[in-house]
Structure formats: C-alpha cells, structure tokens
C-alpha cells in the first residue's frame, strides 16, 4: 500500500497548490467563503474527503496520515482566516473611502451677523477704561446751551463756539444737538453721589455741521473725566499713555503739546506716532510723523465754579480739587484701526463693508 501512501502525499500537495491558487484568485469575502467550502467544507470539502479515505489505510500509517491531514486542515484554515481578514479590511477601507467628504467645502455656520465697527471700537475703548476703574456714563443727545457750552466756560458769543459748528433745534429755542459729550460730564458732576471724586468716560453720538471725508454731521466721541484732590498734568499724561498703548500697542510714541480749549487750562493736544509709517512721514500724517489723536487738559476752574453755582454749594472747590479730561473721536480711532479713509462709509451701511469686520 506504499502507492496509497504516495497518493495521499500527492493529494495533499495537490490540494495545497489548488488552495493557494484559489485563495489568490479570490478577491472578496464571498469568493473566499466558496474557496473555504470547496476545501474545508464539512460536507464536501476536499480535505474532509481525504480524511474519509483514512479508514482505508493500514492502522500503522493511519496515525501519521491523520496528523498530516489535520496539519493540512489547520494550515488551510489559518491561511483562509488571514485572507478573509485582509479582504474584510479592504472592504472596510473601501467603505470608509466611499464615505469621505470634501473637507475643503465651506462649513455650515449658523447665520452670521456682525457688530458695526464703530460699536466694536467703542466697546474696546470702554473695556480699557473699565479695567482702569472708570464708570461708563452717558447723557442726552439733545441738550441745552447751559450744559453744552455755558457750564464749560463758553458763554454766548465766545469765539470758541465757532470751533464746534452747532445744530440748533427749531423749537424750543436754546436746545442744541450736543457738539461733544462734555455736557454728560457736567451732568455727572451735578448728580455725582460722591463728590468731588469723578472717574468716568462718556461715549456717545455727537453732532456738528460738517460733512466731508473726515467729518460727518453725526459721529461718536468718548470723553474721560477724572476729578479729585491732587490730580495733575502728570496723571493726565500717564493715563493717556496707558490708554493709547492699550489701544494701539506700546510701540507708538505719544506726544503732548499745548493747545486751547475753553474748558481746560492748561489745554493739551495729544499726538500719536503715525501708525501707518511709524513716524517716518507719510500721506496720512501729512509728513509730520504724528497723528492728532485727542484733545485734553486740566479741568478749567471756571467749570468747577459753574457746577458749584448750579449746585448752590461748593462741591468741587477749585483750590482743593483738580481734574483732567480728554476726548477723542471713536470714528477716527476706527478709521485708524481699519485703514478707512472716508468717515461717511460708517454711515452708508453697505454690507460689503460691514461684513469685513468679524465680531
């Protein structure tokens, strides 16, 4: 029966070769299953058939042949298992590939609105001052001559009134659209719960009869007022510097030079090193290297005196208390920050402009 033994070995060899060929040819899980059925199936698998023929072998050969066939079955099972795993991996990978999205497509945002750049600028200014211990205060946009001018050392016919071309109301007479937010400062001092201490900023709309590239009949200002014993020009300088550095960055120099406003004495104009050319001189700073950024000064004693007269008591004794005030245009700051050359763009409300400011 040696022939039989050779035959068995030949058969094993043949089955292995056929299995390899079938396995390589099988690309997917179902074909692999067919290969499995053909060689390893319980009912009619080739290996099983061969097992059945073991009985015909002499007992002494049967053991060895049985081990060989078991080894064959195990080997083929494990080969098939590996191939199926690979096929399944391929299949999964393909599915994942099919599920891919184009990540370069725009994301689906909820509807997106924007704050007006004047609002974001104003809020930034407010935040800086609030962090420095200031209260934010506002008054009416229509105010009377007393609060807007007289209490601020600008009696009727004062030439300085020409500096602030004023809108008047038709009726009643004596009312104006405030030309600056200073009347709010007067109102605050008049109603101050803890005089003589004041530390406020007054942001808001103001109105002047001007209309060109850099002037709008309506624009926005923020003014600061600090009053108390011992407040000095040095305090004004330190505060203005800290504020401008917080707003524009510490790399720009700040310059203080004498000026004139009726409600401050001394009056001081503040220049900021040009943020466009860094002081080298350009079209924006007209070659000077400086940008006029705000007016400021020490509160004129006449302002304290006017407030005291109105109060009927000396709440702010000019001999005991001093103060500083400064004011700047929010529109101007926004123009500088965003490189906008025409103030009127802020009020044109063209969405093509507004949508450039994420906020």
């Amino acid at each position: 029966m040696a022939g039989e033994g050779d035959t068995l070995r030949d058969r094993v060899r043949a089955i292995r070769a056929e299995f390899e060929t079938a396995l390589v040819a099988a690309g997917d899980v179902s074909t692999l299953q067919a290969v499995h059925d053909r060689f390893l199936g319980r009912k009619s698998g080739a290996v099983g058939e061969l097992m059945k023929s073991l009985g015909r072998l002499p007992p002494e050969e049967r053991r060895e042949a049985g081990q060989e066939l078991n080894a064959l079955r195990d080997e083929l099972e494990s080969r098939h298992e590996a191939a199926r795993g690979e096929a399944e991996d391929r299949l999964r990978a393909e599915r994942l590939r099919e599920q891919r999205v184009d990540v370069t497509l725009p994301g689906r945002l909820p509807a997106r609105g924007r704050r007006h750049p004047l609002t974001s600028t104003r809020e930034d200014l407010e935040d800086i001052f609030v962090s420095m211990g200031y209260e934010v205060y506002d008054g009416p946009e229509v105010d009377d001559d007393y609060h807007c001018f007289e209490a601020l050392n600008m009696p009727p016919d004062h030439p300085a009134r020409d500096m602030q071309a004023t809108f008047y109301l038709k009726d009643p007479p004596g009312l104006v659209l405030r030309t600056h937010t200073s009347p709010a400062q007067v109102r605050y001092m008049l109603s101050n719960p803890h005089p003589p201490h004041v530390r406020i900023i007054c942001p808001g709309k103001v109105f002047r009869r001007d209309d060109d590239l850099t002037h709008s009949p309506m624009f926005h200002q923020v003014e600061a007022l600090v009053v108390g014993p011992g407040i000095s020009v040095g305090d004004l300088k330190g505060t203005v510097q800290a504020f401008l550095h917080a707003l524009f960055g510490p790399q720009y120099p700040v310059r203080f030079r004498p000026s004139y406003f009726p409600y401050t004495e001394p009056s001081i104009e503040v220049d900021l090193g040009c943020i466009v050319c860094s002081g080298r001189g350009c079209r924006v700073c007209k070659g000077t290297g400086w940008l006029e950024i705000m007016g400021s000064g020490m509160v004129h004693p006449a302002v304290f005196e006017a407030v005291n007269r109105r109060l009927g008591r000396v709440a702010y004794d000019p001999e005991q208390v001093t103060g500083f005030a400064f004011g700047l245009g929010i529109d101007r700051v926004a123009m500088m920050r965003h490189g906008i050359g025409d103030i009127r763009l802020f009020y044109a409300n063209d969405l093509r402009l507004l949508e450039q400011f994420p906020s």
Binding site: G113, D162, D211, Y347, N349
Partner: protein, 678 residues
C-alpha cells in the same frame, strides 16, 4: 499764520533751522502745519489757537522763540521824523460809543502814493497778503508784523475833517471796500464823519474815503475795538477779515499808538510819507492792568512736577509778565496788554507749563479708587447685540437726521433749525423709517438680495421742554435666510422669522412672555401680516411685513419684515432667577390630534380650548403641522397638535389619557371643528 523766517530773525536770532524751529514752536503750542521754501527763506505755517491773538503776527511768534532759546527779543523801531502843521489842526477824533471803542489813536500823514518797494511786496506775498499801494501795504505789513490792524482814510474825503467812533444808525448805509453796500443796524460799529459812516469799525474800510492815486494826505486810524461788538457786527453781515479776526479775539489796547508810530516809521523809511506832528489819542476807558498772584506750590501741584522758581520767573518775564510784589510764596505778575487771554492764576500755570515743556513732566497715574465696571444695563445692551449678531443680523448705524418727507407717516417730529440740507431737516422718530429702509435700498442697489440688519439708537419726539429721547431696537429682514450655502436652499423670510427674533430677545433679556394684537397697527405695516406687542408688561412695539403701499413708495420688491421696539424693557428687566420644577417620575404619554377648523379660529384660541378641556394632566401642546388646500375645504385649515400628558408623581392610566382626549375632541366638535383620523 504764515511766518517768514527772515522776518522773524529781525527780532530774535533764531539759532536753529526752520524745521527745528517749527518743532520747538509746536511744543509750546504753536503747531507747525507746514514749511514752504522760498529761495533761501522759509515760511512757517503755524496753527495759532483762537486764544493766542498775540501770536497772530511775526513779533508775537518771535517773543515765543526768544523764550524757547533764552535769547533777547528786539523791539520794533518806532522812531520817525515829523513835519508840517500839528496833526490836530487837520483832524479831530471823537469817541461817541466808549463801549464800542475804548481807545482810538490817529495820525495825519502826507503821502506820496505809489507801489511799495519790492522787499515789502515780497514779504506781504509770503504771508498771503496782496500788495495794493505803499500806504495800504504798510498798514497791512504792520498788522502782520505786530498784530494791530489799522486803516488809512483819504483825509480830503473825510467831510468836516472829523472821525467819530459810534454805533450805526438803524438802516444806515455804507459801501465797503469790497464794493458791497451794507445796510447797518445799531449793533454795528462805524467810524463816521459828521455826515455819515465811512468805515465798518474793526472790519473793513469804506469805498468813499478809500486811499487812491489822488490822495495826498491820509488820516491813519488804529483803534482798540470791543471784541464782542466786532464779533456780533461782522457775524451779522457774514463778514470775516484779517482785522475782524484779530479784534474779535481781543487785540492789544496798547498796540494802537505803537502801530501808528511803526507805520510812520516805515512810510518814512520807504520815502512814501511823513507824519505831521502829534499823536491824536482818545482814551475812553483805560484798560486796567491785571495783577495775578502765582504760587509755586500751585504750579507744581497742577503740573505734577517741580518747576524751579527761577525757571518759572524767567519764562514769565520773557513772555512780558512783570514780576511785582511778593506775599508768602506767591509772586504777583502784571499781565502784558497783549495777553487778554490771561486772567487768573491757572493761566500763568499754563504759561509756565508750556515753556517748561509738557514732555518734561513725568507721567503718573492717579491713585486707585474702587473698581468700577459696566452697569447691568450696559452689560445687557452688549448681550442684546451678541444675541442678534448670533442670530445672523448685522448691526448698522444710520443718521439721526432724516428727511421730513421720508419720515412721513410716522409720529410728529423734532425739526432742526439749521440743517445741512432739506434731506436732514428733522430728527428721526423711528429707526425703521427711514433708516433701516434706506439701508435696505442701499444694499439692494449693490445687488444684495438678502438683508438682515438691526440698529439700536435713540428716536426723538416733541415734548414740553426738551424733546423726548427714547432708545429703540429696530430690525429688518428681506430676501432669504440661509441662502448661499452649497448644502441647502435658502428660505424666503416671513412673519415668523421676525416674530422669532422678538421672542428670542424677550426671552433672553426681556420681560418674558408677551402676546400679540393685530389692531391699532402703524399704517406702514401690512394689516394682515403684522402685530403689535400687547400684554408684554413694559414691552411694547410692533413687528410685521411692510404695507405694499410702502414697498411701492420705496421702490422695493418682495416682502420686507421689520420690527421696532423700545430698548429699555430689555435693558432694565429684573432678572429673577428661574424656579426649579421637579422632574417627572413617569414618562409622558404622547398623542397627536388632527383638527380641521375655520381659518378664523386662531391657533392661540384653539390652544386655549384644548388646554381648558384637557385638564390638569396636559403637560404641553405644540402645533406640528398646518395645512390648507384640498382635501381641506376652502376657508378651513388642518392643524395637527402634539399633546403630551403627564403626572409628576405617577404613570397615567390609559383611561385617564383617553378621557382627556375625549373631552378635547368633544369640545372642539362643539366649536365646529372636525377631527381627522380619530
């Protein structure tokens, strides 16, 4: 103010070149606007503030420079030769109105009229003055040099040989040098002959007494005019001249006599004239020289630095202040006649500060006080913006000035007396009209179709005393929402979009729940697609579609939804913390109910019926579908309601739920509704 460097150097030996001088002047308050080069000469253009009329001339600027560089200031040469008969024999001067003219100086000069020499013409042109003839040129030269305006009359054309400073008679007529005939009032000052006005005091000369080629003798006037009188008079006539500019800001009362001498000197120097002996000087009200005490401690306290006493004194004396008596630490200073702007101690502190150098004051910060923060109202206003921006609306800022015509249909308005134009004649009484509608139109013209914007701002209404100012919130939606993304189509806005925004803001910030009423709507709204806020506590306002007539008037296509609400209720609503409601222990039983009812029955009314009929176990009720059209008969609407029944403590029995449903169905049937799919 234009200052040629060569001219300035006649009075002070400026040791630096023009650019540096400009910088140094800027730092004492004479801001350099620019430098023009003219050959070897440079002309500094300085921005002189209105209070510093003393620096609106070359000599005044030279004084500042002399203090900056601690150099001597040369005075003007006022010497001249006199000849002929005494001046007073040819000219008489009288001040009739001392309130108008505190001082009037005059001289009589025999002149040889002709063109000025080249150097004089050149200088005038450098400072922007057109040369005319030697006599007029010299008066202008002296104004630019030392600040005193003056006027030369042709003596032969002064009837009676007498000049009177007086107020004009009502209706008095005068033809000024510019050829215009002026009708005067008693508020205008004039220089007159006994026969009538010759010149508009302090503003402009008159044509009738103008110096001409035939002039042989001139009467030279250099007066000090009351600033307010000149300002009012010039303003009333709409006039502004180099002379009025200086007088209305306060010229130097002592400059009058000096100016006549300087003019006589210069006319003599160029061979154009000789003064007759004697100055005619009428002084109606001698100005009091002010004495101001300055305390070094005050100076240091205000400036926040220590200025050495010698330094302060040197600055002030250099500027012309004369130190006098000392009392304690204070020194009394006499204010020079040309510094009308200096009237109290703080003004002297400023002078010291200017020249000590603001740059030399160390920056400090005021001592800390209690921290402030944004007020709740201000925080809520920011949250409101966040909400609306988050909901897709872009903030706009529209003008407070609007056209009366465009605002038509809205409430009474506050008119501006002097608007820039008719289109900006009144203050807005609404944010929507015209502000937000204009915004929409602007953007439609740019090719935009989808616009969602809001504005917060004040509107104005006439009121006894001052106009009312009410902060409002305005919304506008037009076109599609969600358009422009690759994944979905946009949806055309409708009433429920604008309603949702109002609900969102009211829920997050405001007084909470409100109901809507459809009566009493503003005329600009579509009567069937709009509502006003009712039962909203402090909340009021309106929302809805624009009326088709308004759309047509504004040339708008498609529907536009707007809302306008008072802002205060959102900013001031008390934020009572919500109360916890125990979580139910058993799940809710859900039932849908499809009802067909009359269109006239509102969903709110339907809900009310269902709630009342269902009883206590109805936990919530939502409209999940709405349908009109076949098979639902015309005039009726199919509504699907999702009902949730629940008891907080236990599971409801089937009978309880069915019982509630039966009651609802019965009630709705009784009300004429039909129940589908039951």
């Amino acid at each position: 103010m234009k200052i040629p460097l060569s001219w300035l150097k006649e009075f002070v030996d400026v040791p630096v070149e023009a650019a540096r001088l400009g910088e140094d002047l800027t730092l004492v308050g004479l801001a350099l606007e620019g430098i023009e080069r003219h050959g070897a000469d440079a002309v500094l253009d300085l921005d002189v503030t209105t209070n510093r009329v003393d620096c609106m001339n070359v000599h005044g600027v030279a004084r500042e420079a002399s203090v900056i560089y601690a150099l001597p200031l040369r005075s003007l040469d006022l010497t001249f030769a006199e000849a002929g008969t005494p001046a007073r024999q040819a000219l008489e001067v009288e001040i009739e109105a001392p309130d108008l003219c505190p001082r009037f100086c005059a001289r009589v000069l025999d002149v040889r009229l002709g063109p000025s020499p080249a150097w004089l013409r050149d200088r005038l042109e450098l400072v922007g003055v057109r040369p005319i003839n030697n006599v007029v040129d010299v008066t202008n030269y002296v104004m630019m040099e030392m600040g005193q305006p003056s006027h030369a009359f042709d003596l032969a054309r002064i009837p009676g040989g007498k000049l009177v400073a007086r107020w004009a008679r009502e209706g008095e007529r005068l033809t000024t040098l510019d050829g215009a005939e002026r009708v005067l009032t008693s508020r205008h000052g004039v220089v007159a002959s006994p026969e009538g006005a010759l010149a508009l005091a302090g503003v402009m000369g008159g044509a009738a007494s103008e110096v001409s080629e035939a002039t042989r003798t001139v009467a030279l006037e250099a007066a000090y005019w009351d600033p307010l009188s000149i300002r009012r008079g010039a303003k009333a006539l709409g006039m502004h001249t180099e002379a009025s500019h200086r007088f209305e800001r306060g010229a130097d009362p002592e400059g009058t006599a000096a100016a006549t001498a300087r003019i006589a000197h210069l006319l003599g120097r160029i061979g154009a004239g000789t003064a007759r002996p004697g100055l005619i000087d009428r002084l109606a009200a001698p100005p009091a020289l002010r004495q101001i005490a300055l305390r070094p401690s005050r100076t240091d306290a205000v400036l926040g630095t220590t200025v050495p006493r010698d330094r302060a004194r040197a600055i002030l004396t250099g500027l012309g202040f004369r130190p006098g008596a000392e009392s304690g630490e204070a020194t009394s200073f006499t204010v020079p006649s040309w510094r009308g702007d200096v009237s109290r101690e703080i003004d002297l502190v400023e002078e010291v500060g200017r020249h000590h150098g603001l740059g030399n004051i160390p920056p400090t910060v005021p001592p800390a006080r209690g921290a402030e923060g944004l007020r709740p109202r201000q925080v809520r206003e920011r949250r409101l913006r966040d909400l609306l921006v988050g909901a897709g609306l872009t903030e706009v800022v529209t003008h407070a000035f609007v056209s009366d015509a465009l605002a038509a249909g809205s409430p009474p308005r506050v008119a501006v007396e002097n608007p820039l134009s008719e289109e900006q004649g009144v203050l807005r009484s609404s944010l929507v009209v015209p502000g937000l509608l204009s915004t929409l139109r602007t953007n439609l013209r740019q090719g935009r179709r989808d616009v969602a914007v809001f504005e917060t701002g004040r509107v104005f209404s006439p009121r006894e005393g001052a106009p009312g100012e009410e902060p409002r919130l305005g919304l506008l939606l037009a076109g599609e929402l969600g358009a422009g993304h690759w994944s979905a189509r946009g949806r055309v806005v409708d009433f429920f979009d604008v309603k949702a925004l109002v609900e969102l803001v009211a829920e997050r910030l405001g007084p909470g729940a409100f109901t809507l009423a459809t009566d009493g709507l503003p005329a600009l709204l579509h009567p069937g697609k709009a509502a006003r806020v009712a039962d909203g506590g402090t909340l009021s306002g309106w929302l809805g579609a624009l009326h088709p007539d308004v759309l047509r008037a504004w040339d708008l296509r498609g529907e536009v939804y707007v809302a306008e609400l008072p802002l205060d209720p959102f900013l001031e609503a008390p934020s009572a913390p919500p109360r916890y409601r125990p979580l139910a222990k058993a799940p809710a039983v859900l039932r849908d109910l499809s009802v067909v009812c009359d269109r006239s029955l509102t969903v709110a009314a339907l809900e009310a019926r269902v709630r009342s009929a269902a009883g206590e176990h109805l936990r919530s009720l939502r409209v999940v579908d709405l349908y009109e059209g076949p098979p639902v008969p015309a005039g009726r609407v199919g509504v699907t309601l999702a009902l949730a029944f629940q008891d907080p403590e236990r599971t409801l029995t089937g009978e309880e739920v069915q019982g509630a449903l039966d009651r609802v169905v019965g009630d709705l049937r009784a009300a004429g509704a039909e129940i589908r799919g039951e």
